[in-house]
Amino acid sequence: MASFKKTQIRSLPKIGQKVTADTLYWRKLNFPVTVKEFGPIDYIDVMPIEPYFIAVSSAAKVQIYNPITHQVHRHFTRFKEAAYGASIRSDGKLVIAGCDEGHVKLFDIGSKSLLRIFKGHKGPVHRCKFTTDNVHVVSFSDDKSVALWDLPSETEIIKFSEHSDYVRAGCVSSISSDLFLSGSFDHTVKLYDARSPTGSTISVDHGSPVESVLMYPSNSIFVSVGGTELRVWDMLAGGRLLARVSQHHKTITCLHLASDGKRLVTGGLDRHAKIYDVQSYQVVHTLDFPSPVLSLGITPDDFTVVAGMANGLISMQHRQTQAEARALNPKQSLKVQKKSQTAYRFRLNADFRSVNRTFNPATDVEVATKTDTNFVSRYDMFLRKFQYSKALDTVLTPYIRKKKPAITVGVMHELIRRNGLKSALAARDDSSLSSILTFLARNINDPSHANIIIQVANTLLEIYESSSLTPQSEKLFLQLQEHVNREVEYVKHLMEIEGMLHILLASTTTQARRSSTYAVQGSPVKPMLPSAAAAANATMIFNVG
């Protein structure tokens, strides 16, 4: 036997930004805590192990921040001029930074002491990195060279001077201690292997000055940014271009991986940070900042997002914890809790799993009280009993009619189909009539519901036109009329604009036609051309569609 089919509620997809898992995830970042520095923030590096200290290089100092307290944990100021590209070793004990005088300085985070100075570059060093084995350092300098240093002996092992402009970007492989990448303002990105001292193994042209490079953890793909473009290269195929993505409208300055390497984040001078999916390079979310972003840091657990900006601001955003979420929105979290409880028929209490406890069925098993799999909404219940007025009443409660107008419209539609609208609307008192009228006035402009609302409004007018109304409902009827008039006015305007567009498009198409000679066959059957207006109409709709 056919069971009662639920009333179809038609909700059209919303136009605009779609709510995806990613937007929900990144929207959970709290309001940022900002710290003001003196100069633009050149580079931010996050300690790869807990407590995820953040090394920020700006002006003539390098500061290590605690991400939880937002306080400066350590600061290193032994630079004559600006310090650049401070980077923390993977064990979190040492920090290295380049500086304007061409030195690379190594500090101990624990004792704040300067341990090594690597001298040899003739220009400022903007980036420097520890290799994976933790005993070598790679430096990228404005003297167009890239050098590999030995940490214990403080000596230069190898130097590549292949670039023809400043080298302002670089990174090291996470697998091999011999591989590193450099990106330069001469538009090239080069891959070096310390085992082959003759020169770079791969060199690719990015097309604009390279601001940052990044190698994926798998070491098969690297990414470079510069200009407004992000380019993805295949390392195994000798530097084949895999993708070009241009989502920023100003220079992209920094690049970072997030969510265990599943997402890629770029920050740019257009004050946005874009988050990409690393498979498809589609933007899944955008973060906004008050000033051009120069550097980005994201802790490995995605808990903190740090952005350094051109005006010296550091913004630190934390992910909302569950306790915070609960405090912010107690109702919703309660609902979530309830849902998780009723998901199981029987459920063991969590603390039963702890040892040395005996099982007590009375307290340890929760029985779900109600299974609402076959939930029938109240309006369906009334529709099933052919109680049309009651069904309409249930969907005119303030919550449904304001928050979920699609349900109200859906039930009205069903009533029209059942030919029960008249009986549902008739003989209503003042208060219920006013709720219907306010609903109609509110939604009559909505094009997705308009045809049903108009039908309801017409029926309502038909029923109540001859009856005497209270001043209050009379006012509401007039209000509805005003809404309709406004809508008519609006549509008139739109049609005027459409007419103008038609003229413009028609004139352009006829000109195009005239220029291309349209050969007409000399047959007795004369082929017909669409009129200018018809052609314009077809093409215009085509363009829009």
Binding site: M1, A2, S3, F4, K5, Q8, R10, T20, A21, D277, Q279, S280, Q282, V284, H413, I416, R417, R418, N419, L421, N451, Q455, T459, Q521, S523, P524, V525, K526, P527, M528, L529, P530, S531, A534, N537, A538, I541, F542, G545
Partner: protein
Amino acid sequence: MVKMANKKTRGPDKTQANTSDIVVKKLDDATDIVRQPPVFTNDSKYICIASGRQIGIYSVESAEKVHSLEEHTFDVIGLAIKDDNILLSCDASGETIEWNINNGTTLKKAPLVVAGIKEFHSFHYPGNGKVLVATPSTYTTNMSSLWIVDSHTRPRKLFADIKSTPHSIAFGCNQGNGSLVVVALQDHSVVVKDITNGVDKKHMTDQRKFTCVALHSEKLIMATGDISGRILIWHDFVHKSRPVKTVYHWHTLPVNSVCFSSEGEYLYSGGSEKVMVKWRLGMSRKQFLPRMGSSIKYIVNAPDNICVATSHSDNAIRFIDSTNKINRAIIGLVKHDPIRGFADTEPIKESVMPTGLVFDPRSHGIFFNAQAGFLQLFDPQKNSLIFNMDVANRNVLTDERNLVIGNAEVLRVAVSPTGEWLATLEVWSNMSAGYHDMNLKFWRYDAVQANYELNTDVTMPHQDRVTALCFQPGLLGTEMPCLVSIGRDLKFKIWRLVDDTDIYRQKESWSCDVAGDFRKLTPSALSFSEDGSLMAIAFQDTVTLWDPTSINLNTTLSHTLVQEPIELMEFGRDNCFRYLVCASKSALYAWDVISQGLVWKVGQLHSSVRCLVPDPKSCYMAAVLQNSEVFVFSPSSSKPVHSVPKMNSSEPIAALFVPRPNPLASGPEWLINSRLLIVDDQQEFLCVDDVSSAGFNQKLTTPISHMDSLPWTPFSAMKAEKQISAAKQLVPVVHQTSGIQGYKSVQSLLETSASALPPMSRICSLFMSDLMIKHGPKAVTAKVNSVDRTSTDLPLSNGHIDSKTQDFSEETTLQKLLTLDCQWLVETVK
């Protein structure tokens, strides 16, 4: 370049050879199973159902057909159980046949002799050799006279001018003296006759017309239903002139059927509300069984009181068990119920089967309308229903007493060339409110689930009625499918599948790509060339040719000779791909799209062309005229290769060329690969076919098996899959076969009657071997191995396995060596 062919005044030429081989057959009318009320056998194990000229005996337990009885040459008008296993049937010509229910054999044939009357309306059998038959009334039309026929006495006329429906006559036994009481309905009165005592009574009520009557089997209680939905229970109506009446009134629409339970405690009633009401007599309690699918025509109670069978207008018989639940159903091909005005006026011709016949290349079935909002897929090869699909997915609404409440109606169907996509257009409209809904739905066939899944639902695809839907043929696998729709809102729209996949989910949906119009003219017909490279849309008398990919207007075709609006238009197939055949109200003509000229024209047809169908397997095309003349022609010339004269009074609705699974060995060229199927406004299927092909007649003799589609049960797993037989059997194509070992063998064992089975010892081994899972090559090698091992020096005479055995013998010697070695080892260890 207009080349006018011989312009005729009286339609195409009819002089053709070999027309005598081609016949028009009515396709198996066994599909209508609800014309007569079904009859239960005395043991309530079987139910007998009359369907046209056939009688089917179905098992109540499984709802499966057990026997098909086909001896009648006219439609069966009544069934009755004579003795425990004897079925009595009567057809419209008055021939009665007695059947043995157990084995389906004919026992006796006898004609009814009633005063020289040759036509009969209904047939009842009260018992004791007495027969009640209704014959056409002499003076008033649509009324009957009731006669009683006895073997000893002359036929006697009981009543004149009674209603002719089967449930307006009832009979029962007067418990007091055992006399036969017969009641019959007239429009406003009930006439009663006690045959033995000769008592005559006529009871009248108010102005409400009676619709049905039933008599209690034990007491003298009568129940009548009327058009206002009221049921009256009459007590002691034989003797009293003003009998006591009880009123049961729940129905708002006319009561179609009333039925007492065999113990007489309950009364069942049903009508167009699609609700069966179970009344407890003498009490106010009643039970309901709502939403039964479609309106109830007859209710029949089983003698053992365990189940009730209801016949529904959607051509289904449903069995309701004692817990008031439907547990089984016998479902036939559904006749489309056209939209009617109030009080069952004549249906509007336009609304009968609006989808027409649409061929599904995936299942080789035909899609057409079922009940409102449903679509059915019919298999023309097996003459069976494949499935019935709910397109609208809404509650089926019933009419109110003074109000017709329409349901959504499927108006257009299109199937993509691969069968993967199905597009349906459903419309619901309320004339009085001036409101209508239109939904274009795209369904995708899911091969795993074996059903159609809704992909996209477009509300109001056009502002006005949609005239045609058509998928673009000839697309490569990589191209996105494309659908074109034309509507009365002067627009044609092109819908394309859009890949909407993003990183979160995979999704494809349809969206409107282009909406265009042409000089603000109404598009009336649409056709794609066979390879899909050209789209033709007819706007009144003008044909426009478009490039479907770029939507550029290539050419327009019009001529002063053809100025009537085009109603139908089709491209030729095969080697006639360049011809575009158009049909207007009185003319049929063809364009050549390459030379852009009119090729031929046939004017002044007898009546307008109703359908124009191309054969997908050949270049021929058929034009079916409104007066049911059929012309088959090749689009390259106006001369028909075959013409069928006016068949009957009915008007054709739709036609289709159905491809044959196996081409004919001989016959006219246009019939080799397909046959022509025509549906008339009574929804009867007619088939234009060659005499030699008996493909569709074969099916009638073998009982239909539904077992293959039954769900898996532990017992069914024990059945053997096939029975060993030397004769090669044609295995019909079965949809959704679940492969279970040894199934067929068990089935054949169960189906054969026990008396006909060979001794158990003979069939046991065969049966068991059927149940076993066979592994072909493995079994052979094992066998040879074992032979080798037992007697290695046995000479094998079989030549072609010699090489194999050599290998095996080598193996065995190796094994021997191994065993020897082992023995030696064992010995040494010892």
